[in-house]
């Protein structure tokens, strides 16, 4: 699909309601629309933004190009939820139309100040010769729209390119900090830190010194937080080459666990680990409420054509996951509120060979004795989505080679993780699978575009108990 610049840089103000209604109809008629994930009404969704608990509800925004499944002029769309699992569309919150964001209101984060939900985001401006200029802008949510408050960081500091974006703000000891994803002028990625007491004046404190001085050409979507007495730095590096079973997606998302010294900006840490070993995960963002740290990612990646493109839309956000550090390991578990979505129990069986017709959307718990198994989640005619465990090798493989309409095959059609498996906790939506392994030790997220036929689940192998619940 080839879109001209003129086609991609149009806002909702530039097109008629009739054009938009036609797009909505095309999207609504698409197969593979989600049942319980945050998805765009039309066009392309990417990064989660401004994820904040405010005024009794969770607020989530996302990067949105309304007019088609391409990365065009980015708006912010707004959804809210009382419980993280049932979401209500609140409409477009930010239409890019100032000098700073004339070419897109890019990613940012949310925080509450003086009883109002604030956001800080990256404004993208292009000069006539298409030179990029980025600045970091603060806005306030009023009557469902983000009003601009001030330009916090008007220019990129010396030593960095205009690939400088995705501010994540937090409040600490009465002052504000913001990390920003950056590219050094030597085209390596890093994260820098800013400080402000009033949101008006921001001081550049410098780079966070991770020692990863040549780890990809750009780090996007940084996020820093304390968790169970340690610091976690989450970021999405671009330009990492495949290495064994790791780094097979076009871009990566992962984390470092360690200790950040705010005086010296030194971050001592363990190894970089990927957050998700599936095919379709990027640009996560977290928020904290009542001591619980929750992460949501973009269930997609840039520069890949997805089968829904021809219906005028693309992508969704992942389910929210609770993060903890237990015995030095990051655990990711689905939020407990997911269980409120359970309807009928369509499966409750034990054995070594189990087959059942499945609904289009469901939750599945599998507990095994630790030996080999094969679980086909979407068996229909010649299609299958296979999760295979080899206990001898200690490897879990997800194989979408024949899982319906193919896409992104140049990045491979299997993903493997070295792990000893005793349980899976799986969430299937119309065109996605999220598979939590061993009570949150690892997670794999992927899109899948099966035929619209009645599907079977087939399990063979280790003695196991399987329980499945229908979702709407």
């Amino acid at each position: 699909m080839s879109w001209t610049k003129a086609e991609r840089y149009r806002s909702l103000r530039d097109v008629s309601a009739l054009e938009m209604e036609t797009l909505r109809t095309k999207t609504a008629a698409s197969p593979w629309r989600f049942g319980y994930h945050i998805q765009p009404p039309t066009g392309l969704l990417n990064d989660p933004n401004g994820f904040t608990y405010y005024n009794g509800e969770y607020h989530m925004f996302y990067q949105w190009f309304p007019l088609g499944p391409v990365h065009g002029l980015k708006h912010w769309y707004h959804v809210t939820s009382p419980d993280l699992v049932t979401w209500t569309d609140r409409g477009v919150a930010l239409v890019p139309e100032t000098t700073e964001d004339s070419h897109g209101a890019y990613s940012g984060s949310g925080f509450v100040k003086d009883g109002e939900l604030h956001v800080m985001y990256t404004g993208n401006h292009r000069t006539d010769d298409w030179t990029r200029h980025t600045s970091q802008v603060i806005g306030v949510l009023r009557d469902g729209k983000i009003e601009r408050r001030n330009v916090a960081i008007p220019d990129v500091p010396a030593g960095y390119t205009e690939h400088f974006r995705d501010p994540k703000v937090w409040l600490e000891d009465g002052a504000y900090y913001a990390v920003v994803g950056a590219q050094r002028t030597d085209e390596t990625g890093c994260v820098v830190l800013y400080h402000s007491v009033d949101l008006d004046d921001w001081t550049f404190l410098g780079e966070i010194k991770t020692g990863l001085d040549s780890f990809g050409y750009m780090w996007e979507c940084p996020d820093v937080f304390e968790l169970n007495g340690q610091h976690v730095l989450v970021f999405s590096p671009q330009g990492i080459e495949p290495d064994g079973h790791r780094y097979h997606n076009i871009y990566q998302s992962g984390f470092l666990i360690g200790k950040l010294d705010v005086e010296t900006l030194t971050f001592t840490h363990g190894a970089f680990e990927e957050l998700d070993f599936g095919f379709d995960f990027y640009a996560p963002q977290t928020t904290e409420q009542d001591g619980r740290r929750v992460l949501v990612g973009w269930m997609g990646l840039p520069e890949i054509e997805y089968p829904t493109d021809r219906f005028g839309w693309a992508h969704a956000l992942t389910l929210p996951r609770v993060l903890t550090i237990e015995e030095g390991m990051l655990k990711q578990r689905p939020v407990a509120e997911m269980t409120t979505l359970r309807q009928d129990t369509f499966l409750d069986a034990s054995g070594t060979s189990i087959s059942v017709a499945t609904p289009d959307r469901y939750e599945l718990e599998v507990k095994t004795d630790g030996s080999d198994f094969t679980l086909d989640l979407l068996q229909v005619e010649n299609e299958s989505l296979v999760i295979r465990y080899d206990a001898t090798a200690g490897e879990l493989t997800i194989d979408r080679t024949n899982a319906g309409e193919p896409f992104a095959t140049e990045f491979g059609t299997t993903r493997t993780k070295a792990i000893h498996v005793t349980s899976l906790h799986v969430f299937v939506d119309s065109s996605s699978v999220e598979c939590f392994v061993n009570d949150g030790e690892a997670v794999a997220t992927l899109r899948v575009f099966p035929s619209e036929l009645e599907k079977q689940l087939r399990y063979e192998g280790a003695t196991a108990s399987l329980t499945g619940w229908t979702y709407q």
Copy 2:
């Protein structure tokens, strides 16, 4: 709510996608949105139009002013269903923009010719001094849009005013007939008949002679069909005064059963009867498929403010009903496909006093021994919607006096029907109740706007069995 002409006569081409998205968000955030009824995405829905089985699906259109809960510039919106109960939005099918329909694409009907879905509708044009001119236009559905084919009836025949609309077409013996709702120049209502062999040339055959020469000032939405060996003329007369328990709504909808002599246009018939004894029913339209005659009405009336107006939308269509004539009486039953919407059974009880918490949307069957009862469907705090049966008087009363947010109270808050009751079959949606009495002998349709609190159903009286199913 006061809208200027300029505000009301805007089409989807005249407003920006941003304005429309804001309207969509406002509507989506409304309480009282329906779960299983056809409702507008924004703005005002009125008459069902073009109801036709075509290409393996039921097609329904409706009168739609997208931009607010007022009668503005009428577009046609399109929905389809394989089964009459699960409907998919297909978007706007007709934007009024020719000379004939410059001020609205008003109501009309559908039929299949040469493998294509055709419609005939009323174009409304206003001159500079706001004089109305109506014509009847034929269109063809192609790629989801109604393309104009020809102007079938460019002018109103002598003897009638410009209140001349709502053509209903049918094919008989290889030729086309159309009835049109009309007003004579003496300001009385009637129905006239046209004939065509090719859809191009239409001959005015004259009035259908019902003998009802002074029965209201206008008849809207006529429909003529054979049913169980008799003819039925359905129409919606305006200007009928209340008479005992009858005719309490602002406008009426009813039918005559008899025999139409196509040579003399004489229609010999029994008494005019209302189709529905509830508060909110108007402008029904029927179609026939596989020998089954199905009717859908507008669950609303003109010139009344409804509580959803402040959320930018109004009205819905009724559930489809199957019509039959049995022992000379018109029976109306919910289509059998409704049972596919049943989820959990939340109530299955017998006795004389039954109370249960209800879901927001449900189906209920009540079978009694024929004596007095009181059934409160929406009991919550000070609110109740009461269906009361007085066996001695032989009267069934629906009382919405305290049923949540009041509206249309100038037309009374109770409706009563003389009938001996042994069963009710009730469909409750978020803001509607449709109550079928004695297996289709009578029906009452009404809107209701209760608080968003947990509700109770309370039954007292005649020994009865009650069964209830949750709907989504």
